[in-house]
Amino acid sequence: MASDNHVFQSYFDSVIPNDIQQDIVRHVFKGYVEADKLVKRQEYQPGPAKNCYPYVRWVEIDNNCLALNKKYPGLQTSSEQNIIRNSFHTLISLGNVRITVSAVGTPSSLPRTALFRNDLASCQYRFDISADQERFELRDLESVKDKIVYAFVIHGPMFDNPRFPGFVHIAFPDENCTRYLDCINLLKRFPDLVEELQHEDMIHIPDKVEVKLNVPEEKLL
């Protein structure tokens, strides 16, 4: 990442509350698990099945994220068609933050070039960088209100268990979409949630080991 100063993170956190961030993690997890089930149900050969996963995950995650607006008033989601009209992507908007979701190979990889991403990134707000320190400053956050802060949710499968995502980051691209300026590791930020999602099938055995006295009260010491 370009800087130790996490001005993008701070701004993102001030607009997108933790509940929504956690739901994003939930939807990504759910997308992976559902994709796994769907592909396995088809009983494809292992090779073609592997090719299937990224597409099914994409559909599942985008579809899940579209429903976020039902839970959070003020948050808008839309399915946007790309310029050459061969696919759709989900756009999440709250305040002046715009989010799209992409699968990438590693947390440092950028999503493949796409016009809609380039368009959004080109409007990326340029936080004032003081020339001498090359550090982002929070001083003019007020002015951000009229601009866009663009973030990717980037994700990729866990190496040894592709049924789950291995990373889910909020990454902020520069205006040319050539590098990340800042990033939030959501799995690290919400370890309890990750633990819960990885063990969501767990059957929690309640403690019903009840012992009751069967001695009449008058016989007590």
């Binding site: 268990n161 059957i203 055995i205």
Partner: protein, 398 residues
């Protein structure tokens, strides 16, 4: 010859085996002949009061223990996990523990406390359960899950699950590396009894032991003790209990959903989820036809190379499941002032340590231990010697 009135020879054998002693070693301890022990145990003679006292001392049991009449209780065979490797002494110790648990401890507590009702699912098990196929056992395991209201996912706590369903479980130091766990089903009170080893420092292996013994209680509860003497029958019951444990802990359908890559690291991720060992998951994947025989072999080679046969990763991180039923019952009796700890110790004809162990109570709960007396750190130093001389001088009144 006066002997000891009411002495029951069978109890001496039980106590001796419970302490892991041979007849010869007990004879040596008591300074009597091997034949004398044999006569006492067969009931042909009874020990003189001074010998009786010595027996009680050396075996650390109250004399009352040896005067208890023998009652024939109706129970299944005792299933020892790792029986093949277990020595006769280990099995003897195990036999006594199950005997004490089912005929002394639990009946004593039941006088004051009601335990959860036994809830063993009614299943169609043939008279000879060894006729059950692997597929039958897979189905039975799923059936038991359904009847206990469980889905197909990982079970958070296996010991709690069976205690909820009326199993009597305890965990103790078996002091026998070849013995992991053992169990029996007592028809008289329709209760399965399971003793788990406390010396096994792997939560997942112990969970498998619990599921394995549960399998015996479900599948082999009518298996007569004599049948286990037949090596084939013994092997058959063990394989069936293993299959039950695997199918119960990791049901086929859900495991198929989870299984993606046959690598050790992928299995390790699944270990964290299913709370079973990597070794067990490899075997399960092979049994269900998820991996080829060649792959199976390769996985085991790598498993050994990584040293996982001795200890697998996460073994020391996952918490070991602890039984609560007997401990809770005893504490209820004491805290409700039904009995004082002293009364319990007096009324149960076992050593305090045995009682605490069998009820899985904290050390000293019933019989507080005396504070340890230790040698002073400065023992043998000049300061110590001069202090000692000073004390002696004072004592002499000089």
């Amino acid at each position: 010859m006066r002997g000891t009135p009411g002495f029951v020879g069978e109890r001496l054998r039980e106590a001796r085996e419970g302490r892991g002693l041979t007849a010869v070693s007990l004879a040596d301890l008591l300074g009597v002949t091997r034949q004398a022990i044999s006569l006492y145990e067969s009931g042909e003679s009874s020990p003189q009061p001074d010998v009786m006292e010595q027996i009680a001392n050396k075996l650390n049991l109250p004399i009352a223990f040896f005067l208890r009449p023998t009652n024939t209780i109706n129970r299944s065979a005792i299933f020892f996990r790792s029986l093949a490797a277990a020595t006769k002494a280990d099995r003897g110790r195990g036999n006594s523990r199950i005997e004490w648990l089912s005929t002394i401890i639990v009946p004593y507590l039941r006088q004051f406390v009601s335990f959860p009702k036994t809830n063993l699912p009614t299943l169609t098990i043939p008279d000879n359960p060894l006729r059950l196929s692997d597929d039958d056992i897979e189905e039975i395991a799923i059936d038991v899950r359904r009847k206990w209201g469980l889905g197909d996912g990982p079970i958070s706590n296996m010991v709690l699950l069976i205690e909820n369903n009326g199993f009597i479980v305890t965990r103790m130091d078996l002091d026998a590396p070849t013995l992991d766990a053992f169990s029996t089903f007592v028809s008289d009170d329709s209760t399965p009894y399971i003793v788990l080893g406390a010396d096994k420092q792997s939560a997942v292996r112990s969970r498998f032991d619990t599921a394995h013994e549960t399998g015996h209680s479900i599948l082999h509860r009518n298996f007569k003790p004599d049948r286990l003497k037949n090596a084939l029958d013994f092997k058959g019951t063990e394989q069936q209990a293993n299959r039950f444990a695997s199918a119960f802990l990791v049901p086929r359908s859900k495991f198929a959903d989870d299984f993606s890559m046959p690598t050790l690291d992928a299995f390790l991720t699944l270990k964290n989820k299913w709370l079973v060992s990597v070794g067990m998951l490899i075997k399960r994947a092979f049994d269900l036809g998820f991996i080829s025989e060649e792959h199976y072999r390769r996985l085991w080679i790598n498993y050994n190379r990584r040293g996982w046969r001795r200890a697998e990763p996460l073994d020391n991180k996952l918490p070991i499941e602890q039984p609560v039923l007997l401990q809770r019952a005893c504490k209820l009796v004491v805290e409700s002032k039904v009995r004082t700890p002293e009364q319990i110790l007096m009324e149960i004809p076992l050593a305090p340590k045995d009682i605490e162990e069998l009820m899985y109570l904290p050390n000293g709960y019933l019989a507080p231990r005396l504070p340890q007396v230790e040698l002073r750190q400065d023992y043998g130093t000049d300061d110590y010697k001069s202090a000692l001389e000073e004390v002696n001088r004072i004592l002499k009144g000089s």
